[in-house]
């Protein structure tokens, strides 16, 4: 009755083979798969550490995948990359559409490569997907930067949950760093909650502005000004220059009214014209000054530690909340309780007790 083990566990309904043979076949397959995966992971990491863009792209694709098998492999790759990460400067850039973000990032990125840096550009944009045309999806907007050997541009991971997109971007940072990129730029649009997420994963946060008519901060979400380590007023050229200079004075005055930051850094305002590639080098000097300042007072390292802690707690909180509120019973009861609150028949606290007891 001896039979060769089947090569795939998928055939187990075929008929005559005994249970133990199938078990043997499938466990052999599992062991083989594991070994193979381990080898693939190891090769991938070696290639990433050698600076292979292809390997880096493949690893980021794993990170972005929703397949649980890929998730496991992604975690393994990241784990092996971690000791080689953390050596870059991470710069967050935000600004409303129309402010010239793509042109700015191209000019800024090219300046960095021209002084010998390796630049990776990532994005956090939960609403984007490749098909809908994400901010970085259309690489033709950064024609020159995309051609550079020392630049790597990756569109935002797709997804509707900010937490998910942020996680993917944050893990991609580690992979880019392991691949030798020493300057990581994270782009986001200055609407919604994404800039808070980006602020929590970068060392330096830059707000891009243009001198507008009237209200200078129009369209910018509350709180973003407070996050900024610098405000760059773009399109400071031609007829715009005068208005841009005025805006600089206004912003400088406003920034001085804010309480001191934990970094003990006084946020600065600078002018630039990304189109004419003016003011970009000054901005880089400003960022270098910030890095020097925060490394000297230990804020740089302390801040990264705090960010890690923040992401750990945030991930847990997000999951606890979604586990609770996604229960069908809770969904229905929540609706009822909100209705009762609205009608003044219960208080938020009594309603909360009621919902929590349903969960016990």
């Amino acid at each position: 009755m001896s039979k060769k083990p089947k090569s795939s566990a998928l055939h187990e309904t075929d008929g005559v083979s005994s249970q133990s043979e199938i078990t043997n076949a499938s466990s052999i397959k599992r062991i083989q798969d594991k070994r193979k995966a381990k080898l693939v992971t190891k090769t991938l990491v070696t290639e990433i550490l050698n600076g292979s863009i292809t390997a880096l792209s493949r690893a980021i694709t794993l990170v972005e995948s929703s397949n649980p098998k890929h998730l496991q492999q992604a975690n393994d790759v990241i784990k092996l990359c971690l000791p080689h990460a953390n050596k870059s400067i991470r710069i967050g850039i935000t600004g409303v559409p129309g402010v010239g973000k793509s042109t700015f990032i191209e000019a800024f990125g090219l300046h960095l490569t021209s002084i010998g840096k390796k630049v990776a550009v990532l994005a956090v944009d939960p609403s984007s997907s490749l098909s809908k045309g994400s901010i970085l999806g259309d690489k033709t907007r950064m024609e020159d930067l995309v051609k550079s050997e020392n630049a790597f541009i990756r569109p935002s991971a797709s997804g509707t949950s900010l937490g998910g997109v942020a996680r993917k971007t944050r893990e991609s940072i580690i992979l880019c760093e392991a691949a030798g990129f020493d300057s990581i730029i994270i782009e986001t649009v200055g609407v919604g909650q994404s800039e808070t997420a980006v602020h929590s994963m970068v060392d330096f946060f830059l707000l891009l502005k243009i001198a507008g008519a009237g209200d200078e901060l129009q369209g910018i979400k509350r709180g973003i000004i407070e996050m900024a380590d610098a405000i760059a007023i773009n399109k400071a050229d031609g007829e715009n220059l005068k208005a841009a200079k005025l805006a600089k004075v206004e912003f400088n005055r406003a920034l001085h009214l804010y309480p001191q930051k934990d970094s003990e850094w006084q946020p600065k305002v600078s002018l630039c014209s990304a189109l004419h590639r003016e003011g970009i080098d000054e901005l880089w000097l400003l960022i270098s000054e910030y890095i020097e300042h925060t490394k000297a007072n230990n804020y740089f390292e302390e801040h990264r530690r705090e960010q890690n802690k923040f992401w750990l707690l945030q991930t847990i909180e997000d999951r606890l909340k979604s586990d609770f509120f996604n229960q069908p019973e809770i969904k229905v009861a929540l609706k009822t309780q909100l209705h009762l609150i609205e009608e003044g028949k219960t208080t938020p606290f009594v309603a909360a007790e009621y919902l929590l007891r349903l969960n016990d």
Copy 2:
């Protein structure tokens, strides 16, 4: 074998009585207790609705109690008071120590009573306790207001958790409103997280300032300026007047740089001298203007609804988090994972997965 039922279930170990007799005795007692409690609750509510300060104080004491029996009674009282609540104006006042909050609240409260209002003053100060001398604990600071028949002053509930203190204050607001107070002032010190909590329970948020030397916003936590519907610069008298006027210009300029509020209200800056009782009436006019503005554009009601929703969700989130993080196993594992993150041996996301799996 007939015996009189025991008057208290506490005697059930006394000896010879049969199980059924004890059960009868204790259930009779329970029913009697329930009836009695119902009567007490009803009487208390009637007295509150009649404006009895004694009854109001007793009800707030129930709300502040940590005894589960009191909690049940407090919830019953609040439920019966709810239809009579919500008709006041709720004003939050914050400012760092030294800004003259007590003097200001006394002057402001007296102005309100002088124009026929009934004023309740509550506080949110998680760090305070009566013994340590809370901001409002020492009523002698508001000598004149405390004497007024139309004023009710209650120190902050004690407690170390902001969530707990905030809840107690928020439920006390309902009781004060049911007792006929049409102006509720909630005081908090402008440090820590308490002003965010207060901001989430009031209609109008006032930041009290004095013209300082140099940095005008010194000592004020980030974000508070953005919350303010008005900034009152106190101690604008004598030699201070010139500096106060200058500060007013500065703040007005800064406030105009902020994005528009959802209320479509442009925050204003005013001068006052609480000591000389000057500028208080103007401030009240300003608040009245705000109320009129937000009632006209429906923000007032919408905002209160949002606040209720916020407190419902916040209470649930707080509990989910504390239930998770207070588990001894999680506490130990969290420490280990944080250590691994710090050493670059894991990422925040992988660590979070690990901790969440422990909880399953």
